[in-house]
């Protein structure tokens, strides 16, 4: 069970798992990125996930993928500047993982971070969603 309080968040409903020591992550590490349970619930049942290829350079705030549910299409924003090092093949094969385990098996990307921007705490994020 992922400790959601240990994650960072964006106001676009991504969560970011940073290494225990943030300094390490910024210099050499990568972060894990997914979307929150709140976003997954709002989307409905996810049926298709389009993720960027490994090696793609991404910029925080830009659209890098799409998450389609039966009802609608959600855009996936890069939460950080960096380079894609892995896309979760399990989610590409079984998009419903985004609904069933958004903070675990439903993770989306690993990104090598160039610079870690200001991110939200769990408390700040839940204040935005009102959940």
């Amino acid at each position: 069970m992922t400790d959601t309080n240990a994650l960072k968040y964006t106001d676009e409903h991504e969560w970011i798992l940073v290494d225990e020591d943030p300094a390490v992550a910024v210099d050499a590490g990568s972060v894990v990125v997914g979307i929150t349970d709140y976003a997954a619930d709002k989307l409905g049942d996810v049926v298709f996930v389009d993720l960027p290829a490994v090696g793609t350079a991404v910029t925080a705030g830009s659209v890098i993928g799409e998450i389609e549910s039966t009802k609608s299409v959600g855009e996936l924003f890069a939460p950080v500047d960096g380079t894609i090092v892995e896309a979760n093949q399990a989610v590409i094969d079984s998009p419903e993982l985004v609904n069933s385990d958004p903070f675990g098996e439903g993770w989306l990307l690993k990104i090598a971070v160039a610079e870690l921007p200001e991110l939200l705490t769990r408390e700040q994020y839940t204040a935005i969603t009102g959940e």
Binding site: D41, G44, D45, E68, T70, K71
Partner: protein, 376 residues
């Protein structure tokens, strides 16, 4: 616009429903999972609250003749106890609403309209009434409507002891027919109609008794797989069944023939009816027609996306999607779209512009999904 709430709103909230605005109403969009609710309707049963629909009672010696004039079909020809899908047309022949008309008695009809069109329908009916011996009563605030849809639905209704005095046993009630009954002593109308492509029933009851009926249906149905289902599942079900949705496939700009509904207009009926001149004039040159489109993969075209003729970059737009989704039952993307008539033949390959990616799709006959015929 102030939100309106179903008489079942508290039950939905207690069941954990997420809500969405639909025609000014806050209605359940899903309870747990769109897909689970969709599949339940195809395999067992789903229970829908559609109390947002608008109901009008049309009565009097002139009711049949009035409806023949006010609507596109020949409603005076419906047998008592039967239903007919019809259209309310503007003078231009454009569609103000699509509706279902039930004949409850010789001089008594129930007209069921879409929630978002309650006011335009009420106005049109009133405006068309002078000269006919007819009374129109808007019953929308008094009547709740729930739909039980799916192969298990008949068995579920038959197992509810509180449903009594059915005019016609459900086994003998044909598709598109209605019968009177009682639920715990309250008048109940049971119609074998629906919007999902499955066998199913729509139940009209006074708003005060709606929650008792809902709970009885849940209690009787849960053991055989019934689940409450929201508007998200309802939309994918009706799309698979090729049923048009007002505001998507139908509008005031659309003539029935463009939407494949030419047969709903009874041009041969005697006398004039509102919309006849527009229908006889026909659609404008170049008017698009509604088709089904089926694609492969998992990426769906959505309402508003362009349909283009080739993928060679010339980019000639030949249509626009009105509804689209990844079909939960069929496993591939489906869509309804208005396209140029010259590319509307089944088998034609067109391309859906899915946010910049062109996805090949074949024009196919509607509906996408037809349930297997029962052996009984």
């Amino acid at each position: 616009m102030t939100d309106r709430f179903s008489p079942l709103h508290d039950i939905h909230r207690a069941a954990g429903a997420a809500f969405t605005d639909f025609g000014g109403w806050q209605m359940p969009v899903r309870y747990s999972s769109d897909l689970a609710e969709h599949h339940a309707v195809r395999s067992a049963a789903g229970l829908f609250d559609i109390s947002h629909m608008a109901e009008f009672l049309v009565g009097g010696p002139g009711a049949g003749a009035f409806l023949d004039y006010a609507l596109a079909g020949k409603l005076s020809a419906i047998a008592v106890g039967k239903a007919k899908y019809s259209l309310l047309l503007a003078e231009t022949g454009g569609i103000i609403d699509d509706l279902v008309v039930y004949r409850l008695a010789d001089e008594r009809f129930l007209v069921v309209a879409n929630a978002g069109n309650r006011e335009p329908v009420a106005e049109a009916l009133e405006q068309r009434a002078p000269g006919f011996d007819v009374r129109i009563a808007d019953q929308s605030d008094q009547l709740a409507l729930v739909a039980v849809q799916g192969p298990a639905s008949r068995g579920i209704l038959e197992s509810i002891a509180e449903i009594t005095e059915l005019g016609t046993p459900l086994a003998d009630l044909p598709y598109y027919a209605i019968t009177e009954a009682f639920f715990s002593g309250r008048p109940l109308l049971v119609a074998r109609t629906g919007y999902t492509g499955e066998d199913g029933f729509e139940l009209y009851i006074h708003v005060e008794a709606a929650s008792y009926l809902w709970n009885a249906l849940v209690e009787a149905g849960e053991p055989v797989g019934l689940v409450p289902a929201g508007l998200a599942a309802r939309d994918t079900l009706r799309l698979e069944a090729g049923m048009p949705l007002y505001g998507h496939e139908l509008s005031i700009e659309t003539l029935p023939v463009q939407a494949g509904l030419g047969r709903v207009v009874a041009l041969s009926k005697e006398g004039d009816f509102v919309g006849r001149s527009g229908i006889e004039a026909g659609p404008a040159d170049g008017a698009r027609v509604l088709v089904g489109l089926a694609a492969e993969g998992r990426r769906a075209g959505r309402a508003g996306y362009a349909v283009v003729e080739t993928d060679d970059g010339s980019g000639a737009v030949v249509g626009e999607i009105t509804s689209g989704a990844l079909s939960p039952t069929l496993g591939h993307p489906i869509a309804m779209a208005f396209v140029d008539e010259r590319v509307a033949s089944p088998g034609t390959t067109l391309y859906l512009d899915v946010r910049g990616t062109l996805i090949p799709a074949s024009v196919v006959a509607l509906p996408f999904y037809t349930r297997a015929k029962e052996s009984s």
